[in-house]
Assembly symmetry: C2
C-alpha cells in the first residue's frame, strides 16, 4: 500500500489533559509526549493512534469528523457514566431521540458517539 492511515489528529488547547482523558476512555496509553505533540495508542505497532496537537482556535461548530466508540453491550450505560465521570458531557446536536448512538463531548467539546448494539451490528 502506497499510503496508509497513520494517526487521527485532534487539535487541542491542553494536550496532556485531553490525551489523558482519551487514554482513560479507550484504555490506551501515552506513546510519546512532547510539548507540541502527544501520541496515544494501544501499542507502538498499533494500526492507528490518536495524536494531539496545539491550536489556539476556539471550537465554533460541530466537528465534521468524529469518533464512534463501541462498548460491550451489557456495559453500555455504565461505560457512558464512566466516560462522563472522566470529564465528558452529554450534548445535543439535533438528535431526534431515535438514533442508535449517544452523543457525548470530550473536555474540549469534541463530539463523539457511544453506539448501541444495533448500530454495532449493522455497521
Amino acid at each position: 500500500m502506497a499510503v496508509s492511515l497513520h494517526h487521527i489528529v485532534i487539535d487541542a488547547h491542553d494536550l496532556p489533559r485531553l490525551a489523558r482523558f482519551w487514554t482513560q476512555v479507550l484504555d490506551w496509553k501515552i506513546l510519546s509526549e512532547r510539548e507540541r505533540e502527544v501520541v496515544i495508542g494501544t501499542a507502538e505497532t498499533a494500526p492507528v493512534g490518536i495524536c494531539f496537537m496545539p491550536t489556539t482556535d476556539h471550537k465554533a461548530v460541530k466537528n465534521r469528523v468524529h469518533l464512534d466508540l463501541s462498548p460491550d453491550p451489557e456495559d453500555r450505560e455504565r461505560e457512558i457514566e464512566r466516560i462522563i465521570a472522566l470529564g465528558a458531557r452529554r450534548v445535543e446536536i439535533g438528535q431526534t431521540g431515535g438514533e442508535s448512538w449517544t452523543v457525548l463531548a470530550d473536555p474540549e467539546g469534541n463530539e463523539f458517539c457511544v453506539l448501541r448494539p444495533k448500530a454495532m451490528l449493522i455497521s
Copy 2:
C-alpha cells in the same frame, strides 16, 4: 476492554463520492453502503473503519479532527500527485513551510496531512 474505537465518522454531502475518494486514497474497500451511511475499511474485521454520514451543514472552519496519512517515503511526491488527481487539493491553513507534513483537503474540504518521513519516524 469496555469501550473501543469503532469508526472515524466524516459528515458528508455526497456520501458515495466521498467514500469512493477515500477508498481510492487508502486502497480500502466499501464494506456497506446505504443511503445515510457508507462504511469503508480494509476488511470487515479491521480495527478501524471510516463511516460517512449525511450533513446539511456547510464547512465553515478548519476541522479540529483530521487524518494523517503515512506514505512510503520514496513514493511520497507521487502519492500526493495521485491523491490530488483523485480530487484532493492543496490547502493553506497557516503553515510556515517548516512542517513535516503536506496539507491537502478532500473533495468536500476536509483537511488531511501526508507526512514526511521525519514525522513518521518521530511519532
